[in-house]
Amino acid sequence: MGRLTHSIFLQAPPAAERPSAHPSDEEIALFVEGGLQGEARQKVVRHALACPDCYELVAEVMRGQAPETSDAADVDWASDAERGVSSRRPTHRYALAAGVLALALAGGLLWSRLSPNERRVAEAPQPPPPAITTPSASILEPSAPPAPAPPPKVAERTPAPATQPSLAERTPAAPTQPEQPVRGAFVPYAPPSIAMVAVDDELAAILRQAAKPDQDQPNLAQALAAALKKQDVVMAPFTRLQLPPSMPKASKRLTQLRIEVKNGVAHLEVN
């Protein structure tokens, strides 16, 4: 019970404003269920604000109500902008979406870093695992005479000539491309991506240090990349790091770090 809040907001209304007629039981029940609209609801609200007994009754009935099951409702409150009240959508949906994107991004990064040969190997059907043969004979059974050595396999009997190239060697080599300078934290191989990672104390310290002026930016960038790599986030080296002059207070052990890549430029967002 918010007892101090009661002291904060409880004010006796002027006698002139005290409404005389209490709402009926059914009106209060309808209000609690969300069944009142417009002026009828406003009347009950106004009365409950002015009448402590009816306020207590509304709170009591509301407390005993079953949990909400329906999400369908119409909102006729004044808009948020009119009253200067900010309205935010629930962030857990964004966090979930960001997590899924991060997983997809990590998979894509891993895939993009594989060489063409490694990709081919990954795509090829895998041979069945060799059958595990267990000795059937018990130690109590008389030992069988040693079996003759099996004939060598054909492959072993006819060794390949040393000059014959292996399959991998026979595959024409992929044309080597000159390394492109990386502009962002992530290689921008995909449309704008968002990744969300948990930042540990080490990274938070690096970010705080980076916020100080006159820091060695390339070294900080490397340290940041190394710290993120430790958290399974693959970071390509980047050349310059711009950080805001004031960093958020890293009092929490974990900080949400958001990385957004747009047009080859990576944006960091720390909540």
Partner: protein
């Protein structure tokens, strides 16, 4: 269905019994009989007034809750501040009401009187000043002030814990700032429209679940949560603007964005 039949329904009897037990555990039987008598009075007029616009359970809950309040008044009488307490001043009358009617602890009473600007002394002095209240009669007294004064001592001040973010805001401030902060919060509350004011009281004063409070105003769970967060942010912003809230107490929600590029 005939209201008299509804009264003999097991669900109805269970609801009445549970509501009486919840509010008056010591007088559950008397409460139950009083409510049943009142419901059957005048050929069950109270139940016949039900028009079917709301759920019958909610209607019955409302009616029974109202009748239980009537029973409490009938049994204990309306709480009136004793003359001896009223003679001590406005702070004593309010302290008696909080202690005896609203069942506050002594520490909670002290905090409330401080933020209501009815009492300006410290806790030690309050413990002495409140001693005469121990002799005053209390209608439904669950705790004895005298015992609390002796046993609770000065440690009891820690009992006044914040039960929601709004109280946390106030209790985190220095003692000297709390009264000013409460004035600011009251101003903001007064500026809100009536629906928001009631919503704030239901959520922060009675600690009702946001979804339940929001449903009365036609809000979904997410909308109600968003409304609560927005209102809390508004309170924080006004406290910050008035110079009462530091960054640690009222952290800004604005996101800091930075970028690196070639």
């Amino acid at each position: 269905m005939d209201p008299v039949c509804l009264l003999s329904d097991q669900e109805t009897l269970r609801l009445i019994s549970s509501l009486c037990r919840k509010r008056l555990p010591e007088l559950e039987g008397e409460c139950f009989l009083y409510v049943m008598d009142a419901l059957q009075k005048d050929d069950a007029k109270r139940l016949r007034d039900f028009k079917g616009q709301s759920k019958f359970t909610t209607f019955l809950h409302t009616t029974v809750s109202r009748l239980i309040t009537d029973f409490m008044r009938h049994t204990f009488g309306r709480p009136r501040v004793p003359a001896a307490v009223a003679a001590l001043g406005a702070w004593a009358a309010r302290a008696w009401e909080l202690l005896c009617v609203r069942n506050y602890s002594l520490a909670e009473t002290f905090q409330a009187l401080t933020i209501e600007e009815l009492y300006a002394q410290n806790w030690r002095q309050f413990s002495r000043d409140a001693a005469p209240l121990a002799d005053a009669p209390c209608p439904k007294k669950a705790r004895f002030i005298a015992a609390e004064l002796q046993e609770g001592g000065f440690v009891a001040l820690d009992e006044a814990q914040a039960s929601n973010p709004l109280e946390q805001l106030v209790l985190q401030l220095e003692d000297t700032q709390r009264a000013a902060a409460v004035r600011v919060l009251r101003e903001v509350h007064e500026e809100l429209d009536e629906a928001d004011r009631l919503f704030v009281r239901l959520v922060f004063e009675d600690d009702l679940p946001v979804a339940k409070a929001g449903r009365a105003f036609g809000l979904t769970r997410a909308q109600a949560q968003s409304r609560k967060n927005g209102l809390l942010q508004l309170f924080r912003a006004r406290l910050s603007a008035s110079g009462l809230c530091t960054w640690e107490i009222c952290p800004s929600k604005t996101k800091k964005r930075f970028a690196w590029a070639d």
